[in-house]
């Protein structure tokens, strides 16, 4: 295949990728978009295989078949509640692939149409692609461990922030040393293996170190950030291989991840920097509770059922607790019963509810909740004042009225204004504070009733109570 034909093929593939993202502007057009994405990828792969066709294809085809089988198996088997883990795992693969390609380039630049020794410009690009790829890989592995709750087996995977004194200093020094070896790689003559490998190793370590201090509820930011990194890694490799398709696809993904990180940070009213420095919620945990013993009103599932059955409108606020308890189907059942009784039921989603952007929407979609019943924070916030009953399921910080009080650690964070509704039902497993380590005044309001227990069990009991 001629080089011109190949580039034209890549152009079509790039357009397909853009259409894939564009389709996601609406649930109805999204599936068509995904098809575009697959077509684009198929073109890209066929064109590239045609380029190397005079080389050895056996290894490539074998690797593709094995990879495709594993990918298909994982995609079929994964549960929707495990989506964040799957996404983190997939980010790590992109990172590792970028590093392996860089190794192949250093090993023999001439097989990529580069002169040997490599030109300086290619080296610089390769260096960027490698360290971003390496950080993406090891950072995603840690994120995966945290999301999969492997903290008990291995401390680095703890979902609580892992902090040690001088952490930021260590990271800074490592980063400088890494850049130093990058410089050595840049200046070295032929086959600069030593500086390359040292630089790569430090990048792997850095990836671990920058993710461990970030706690569970900040995961939506981390996972979007790693999403972004995986794109930049692909773009970096594209620069060094002089491959425009990699550059375009990589930048699309990179900017997408960056936008998601921004949206998530904004939804927590925290700067990207403060999330990355980590340690949030670890320090102030005990100190911030008010001190005086306040009482909460707790009730049974039957009480909750009675309140909801007699309401005109109900809003359900799902949080991470819903995902942990896998209560999405039970919730749908509850809504179904209520709607049959003539109650208006809607769902209110906070952007950072759950462990990744859009986590709650996917769970509700899995339970076949129609998406027009599911509203984003900005669209539903003004309706809480006219709502009879709000059911909060395993959410805490995102409904904490302290966000409106100056001086509180979460001051300024946009929240769901649950406190404005007439009656509030809160399901939690215990009175433990949320991620921010803050007490939640919502729980002590006169119109609030706590229903303790596992979200799934409680919702099922409420459903029984409705019969």
């Amino acid at each position: 295949m001629s080089a011109n034909m190949a580039v034209l093929g890549y152009l079509i593939a790039s357009v397909c990728f853009i259409l894939a993202l564009k389709g996601l502007s609406h649930p109805e057009s999204a599936r068509q978009g995904n098809t575009f994405g697959m077509v684009g990828m198929a073109i890209a792969i066929v064109v590239t295989v045609a380029i190397v066709a005079q080389g050895r294809l056996d290894l490539i085809l074998l690797a593709m078949v094995i990879g495709a089988a594993i990918g298909a198996y994982a995609a079929r088997r994964v549960e929707m509640t495990q989506m964040p883990e799957l996404v983190a795992a997939m980010h790590s693969l992109v990172g590792l692939a970028a590093v392996l390609i860089a190794v192949a380039v250093v090993n023999n630049p001439s097989s990529f149409n580069m002169s040997n020794p490599m030109p300086m410009g290619n080296k610089l690009e390769l260096f960027i692609g490698t360290f971003v790829g390496a950080i993406t890989f090891s950072g995603s592995v840690i994120a995966f461990g945290k999301l999969a709750g492997l903290g008990k087996q291995f401390r680095l995977f703890s979902s609580a922030p892992v902090v040690f004194p001088g952490q930021h200093m260590v990271n800074l020094i490592l980063a400088i040393v890494m850049l130093g070896f990058g410089g050595a790689f840049f200046l070295a003559p032929a086959q600069p293996w030593l500086p390359f490998l040292v630089m790569m190793t430090i990048a792997f370590v850095l990836g671990v170190l920058i993710i461990i201090p970030i706690g569970g509820a900040d995961m939506p930011v981390v996972i979007s950030m790693l999403n972004s990194y995986s794109g930049w890694a692909a773009a970096g490799i594209g620069f060094s291989l002089n491959n425009q398709l990699l550059i375009i696809a990589g930048s699309l993904v990179g900017s997408s991840g960056a936008i998601l990180s921004y949206i998530m940070c904004k939804a927590m009213n925290r700067s990207f920097f403060s999330v990355i420095l980590g340690g949030f919620g670890a320090a102030e945990g005990a100190a911030s509770t008010g001190g005086e013993e306040r009482t909460v009103r707790s009730g049974s599932a039957d009480d909750a059922a009675f309140l909801m059955a007699n309401a005109e409108s109900v809003i359900i606020v799902p949080g991470y607790g819903l995902a942990v308890a896998r209560a999405q189907h039970a919730v749908k059942e509850l809504a179904h019963k209520l709607i049959a009784k003539g109650v208006t039921v809607r769902y209110a989603i906070h952007p950072v509810a759950g462990r990744m952007p859009g986590h709650m929407n996917v769970l509700l979609a899995e339970a076949e909740v129609p998406y027009d019943q599911v509203l984003e924070m900005d669209d539903i916030n003004s309706d809480f004042g006219t709502t009879d009953v709000v059911l909060v399921l395993g959410a805490n910080d995102v409904v904490n009225p302290l966000a409106h009080e100056k001086g509180s650690p979460i001051y300024g964070m946009p929240i769901l204004d649950v406190a404005k509704s007439r009656t509030i039902l809160v399901n939690k497993r215990s009175m433990a504070a949320g991620y921010a380590g803050l007490d939640n005044p919502l729980f002590y309001m006169d119109k609030t009733m706590m229903v303790f227990g596992d979200a799934k069990k409680v919702v099922e009991d409420i459903v029984k109570g409705l019969d």
Binding site: L21, P27, A75, R76, M80, L86, L93, A104, G121, P357
Partner: protein, 107 residues
């Protein structure tokens, strides 16, 4: 202005424009679909398989080609897994056609 433009500069132009396109397209993604957005971008970034195929297809079957082949395998997991899981999720967002009376409706 004489002589050929450095290919890196042309790549830079492509890069900057692609970032702009990505920026504007992604802001239009509805928040409800942010998880499918992540999985589909994941699949798209595994277009790095292109680089891996070039590495694995080198004429000399040496360490670099093996390394490339492993990268092909890893990226292939993502290509197939990423698009398939996105498809699975998007199927769930399909508008439910008002089926024949759903259970419980007549209660």
């Amino acid at each position: 202005m004489t002589g050929a433009v450095d290919p890196t500069l042309i790549n830079l132009i492509i890069f900057v424009l692609a970032v702009f396109v990505g920026y504007h397209v992604v802001w239009n993604v509805t928040p409800a679909l942010h998880t499918p957005l992540m999985s589909v971008t994941n699949a798209i970034s595994s277009v790095i398989i292109v680089g891996a195929i070039l590495a694995a297809g080198a004429q000399t079957a040496d360490f670099g080609a093996i390394s490339g082949a492993v990268a092909v395998g890893l990226a292939a997991i993502n290509v197939v897994g990423g698009f398939m899981v996105t498809q699975r999720m998007l199927e769930m967002f399909k508008k439910k056609t008002p089926k024949a009376p759903r259970q419980g409706d007549q209660a």
